[in-house]
């Protein structure tokens, strides 16, 4: 009995995956737990494990192919098994899963039969109109019927059909019927208008820029847009255009933090523990400060009609990797000691570099930090990482003259900038959070309590 291996859903936001590498060949014996292939999702490259025993009979897609969740990618079975029927079912273009193809084909066949007025009481489903339009429909996967936030789109059956025929994305259509139901005239109006130019709630079309490109003759290199880049583009554009950002910068005296860290790391060396970085101090300070300022540890959720303030503090730490960046999460950072935070951060960052993070390790942050201090960046602003309500951009510690008791003396200062989603965080709340953060870092012994 052949077993169909389909593209799995490997992350919450995954819609399609790229088969980046086959690790087994056709004809190879497969045992449960063997890694068949690597799949690049929108977030990470992950192993595709077999859950069954058998022989890898067929690789249905090639390395580099991008296919939607649920599409057949391989067949496992007994050595001499005939799987031609299964492969035939997939159709030439392989655009749809087996079930969808069958259903669509069945309804298509039903739809194209002639009406039979001579059997008026028939319950058989036929092309009711014989208008000829149905017969031309090609089987396609039915659109998911939900909008970008996963809400069900209310649309009349007719509106759905017209939208499907014209390739109109219902999530881009405003419904004028009761409770926002999308009806025929709404879809027709959208078809009339052509593709959406500017959205009511601005959703920039980041993947199809409309500006003039430099002369085609000018030499250039073309790079495929990786899943990760697409995700970064989508999420951050969405954040920047829907979350009204504002920024607050504070200059923190790091003298005591430097001294404390030196002391701690001396001990760490002696006792063979992970050394603590300035970033770890900031992570800990943020975690403790977030406990006191719940709106900075929050999400604005318009669909649920609520602002959610989280009882736990999970800090995402932006890590630059070859393909882009990823934010592994230190969970319950407020409850962890500095050494634990240091060890965990180091370990997550290392595995991030190796594309070896599991989705649960980079999902679920309630607050995010981004540190460019190591590049000598004095200060910068970051884009809020949705659905967080704020992100902290950490600059370099620098030697700078400061005024103390009326005297100019050498100082050690670090600028941090909080980017806030104004829908949740107001200026005063951001400022209060920064004030708390600052006092933790300026009196860092408090971080140890």
């Amino acid at each position: 009995m052949a077993i169909l291996i389909e593209m799995p859903k490997l992350s919450d936001t995954m819609e399609e995956g790229v088969l980046s590498a086959w690790l087994m060949d056709e004809g190879d014996e497969v045992s449960s737990g063997d890694v068949l292939a690597q799949v690049e999702t929108d977030k990470a490259t992950m192993d595709l494990e077999a859950f069954d025993e058998g022989v890898l009979l067929k690789k249905v897609i090639d390395e580099g192919d991008s296919v939607p969740i649920g599409q057949l990618i391989a067949v496992i079975g007994e050595a001499d098994e005939d799987i031609s029927d299964i492969l035939d079912d997939q159709g030439g273009d392989g655009a749809a899963g087996a079930d969808e193809t069958d259903d669509a084909a069945a309804s298509d066949a039903a739809a194209s039969s002639e009406p039979t007025p001579s059997s008026p009481d028939s319950d058989v489903v036929e092309d009711p109109a014989g208008d000829g339009q149905l017969g031309d429909r090609t089987p396609e996967p039915v659109p998911a019927g939900t909008d970008a936030e996963g809400r069900r789109i209310k649309a009349s059956p007719l509106a759905r059909r017209i939208a499907e025929e014209h390739g109109v994305d219902l999530s881009q259509v405003d419904g004028s019927g009761p409770e926002g139901r999308i009806i025929r005239r709404d879809v027709e109006a959208r078809i009339e208008e052509g593709p959406p130019a500017a959205e009511p709630a601005p959703q920039p079309d980041v993947e199809t820029p409309s500006y003039d490109l430099p002369d085609d003759e000018a030499p250039y290199e073309s790079h495929d847009i990786s899943q990760m880049r697409k995700t970064i583009a989508r999420r951050l554009a969405e954040s920047k255009y829907t979350a009204p950002h504002f920024y607050e910068t504070v200059d923190i005296d790091m003298e005591k933090a430097i001294a404390l860290r030196a002391e701690l790391n001396e001990l760490a060396e002696e006792q063979d523990r992970t050394k603590i970085s300035f970033n770890d101090l900031v992570t800990k300070a943020c975690a403790l400060s977030l406990q006191k300022h719940p709106y900075v540890n929050a999400s604005y959720l318009p669909d649920e009609g609520e602002i959610r303030t989280y009882n736990q503090v999970h800090i995402g730490i932006a890590v630059a990797i070859d393909e882009g960046l990823i934010t592994p999460v230190v969970r319950n950072a407020d409850q962890k000691g500095m050494t634990e935070i240091a060890r965990e951060t180091r370990e997550l960052a290392a595995r991030a570099q190796d594309n070896d993070l599991e989705p649960e390790e980079f999902e679920g942050a309630t607050f995010t930090t981004s540190n460019l201090g190591m590049f000598g960046i004095e200060e910068f602003t970051a884009i809020v990482n949705p659905p967080n309500s704020a992100i902290l951009a950490i600059g370099a510690i620098r030697d700078t003259p400061v005024v103390e008791d009326g005297e100019v003396v050498p100082g050690k200062r670090m600028k941090v900038t909080l980017s806030c989603d104004h829908r949740v965080v107001d200026g005063a709340i951001g400022a209060q959070f920064l004030s708390t953060l600052r006092s933790y870092l300026e009196e860092p012994m408090n971080l140890l309590l």
Partner: protein
């Protein structure tokens, strides 16, 4: 074409058929000496004599059963109920014997019988005399149910019903017996069962209505036209078999449907049409199907309450505007 009252058209149908076939007879309360309670059979006793136009006692179960027995023995009875409210007294013969005899005898017996008479509300007759029976009788396999709205259809369909070799429930209306309209004088004029009539063409909304409600639909269509909407009005004419193809074809064009049915709403003809249309034309509907029916209560007596009870053109227009999203 001749201009005839509905009752005259029905009489013409029976008379023509009885002239054609000696096995056909009419039986019922007051059909003979009194010329029929609503004068449908006026003059028929004189023409065909007491052997073929037969008065009965007030005994629906008895004469309905007599009809069933006569049909089993090769005659072709037309059984008149003074109104279909009284058919309930003869219920067993109508629903349990007539439609099942052919089936239970393995086809040895045919059942060429027509039960006819006025159906539905007819003004201030109160609850027990205002029953709409079409959904009820349509529920029994083996019964055909006919419910015309204009005299011409009445004539053509009654002639067809009389020629059927299976039982037909033929539903008329007290309020329409005086309705005058053109009626075909064509020799052998019949209209097949299960064939709807598109009474008015339109592309904006489909209104399906039978019997009296058909005229409500036509009024509503006039009002809608004044508002700039063209309603397509379909009279199914026979409830069973139902010409669902004609209705579906219209809904595919208009994408909206309002069904008027003066029956009580639960498990009504309107329910059945609604079900079948969503089944056959789901992808063509731009709005939920709405119904205009009597409420789920017994018919009242007071005239103001009766007005509120019966489906009306205003309510139909309102519901059409709703499915047009034009409120």
């Amino acid at each position: 074409m001749a201009t005839l009252q509905f009752r005259e058209a029905l009489r013409a149908a029976m008379t023509e058929e009885m002239e054609r076939d000696d096995d056909i007879f009419l039986i019922g309360e007051e059909v003979a000496e009194y010329d029929g309670a609503y004068k449908v059979s006026k003059g028929m006793l004189d023409q065909f004599g007491p052997q073929r136009v037969i008065d009965t006692p007030i005994s629906e179960l008895g004469f309905a059963g007599l009809g069933v027995g006569a049909a089993m023995n090769g005659l072709r009875p037309i059984v008149e109920f003074m109104t279909f409210n009284f058919s309930y007294v003869g219920f067993d013969q109508v629903v349990n014997n007539a439609p099942n005899v052919r089936y239970m005898s393995g086809g040895q017996f045919e059942m060429p019988i027509v039960f006819r008479g006025p159906n539905g509300a007819a003004g201030q007759l109160a609850a027990t005399h205002s029953n709409s029976t079409e959904a009820l009788y349509s529920n029994f396999p083996g019964l055909k149910v006919v419910s015309p709205s204009i005299p011409d259809d009445g004539k053509g369909l009654l002639k067809t019903a009389i020629r059927e070799d299976d039982p037909v429930i033929f539903l008329e209306s007290e309020l329409m017996y005086g309705l005058k309209d053109e009626v075909s004088e064509e020799a052998d004029y019949t209209i097949p069962l299960g064939s709807a009539r598109v009474a008015r063409e339109g592309s904006d909304v489909t209104i399906v209505a039978h019997s009296k409600s058909h005229h409500v639909a036509m009024d509503a269509a006039e009002q809608l036209a004044e508002k700039g909407y063209e309603a397509e009005v379909i009279d199914p004419r026979t409830i069973k078999p139902l010409d669902i193809d004609a209705i579906v074809e219209s809904v595919v064009k208009t994408n909206r449907l309002v069904v008027i049915d003066e029956s009580n709403p639960f498990a009504s003809v309107a329910s059945e049409i609604t079900h079948r249309v969503q089944d056959r034309a789901f992808d063509y509907l731009d709005a939920p199907i709405l119904r205009v029916t009597a409420p789920d209560v017994p018919a009242p007596y007071a005239p103001n309450l009766m007005d509120a009870y019966m489906p009306g053109a205003d309510e139909t227009v309102d519901k059409c505007l709703r499915v047009l999203y034009a409120e």
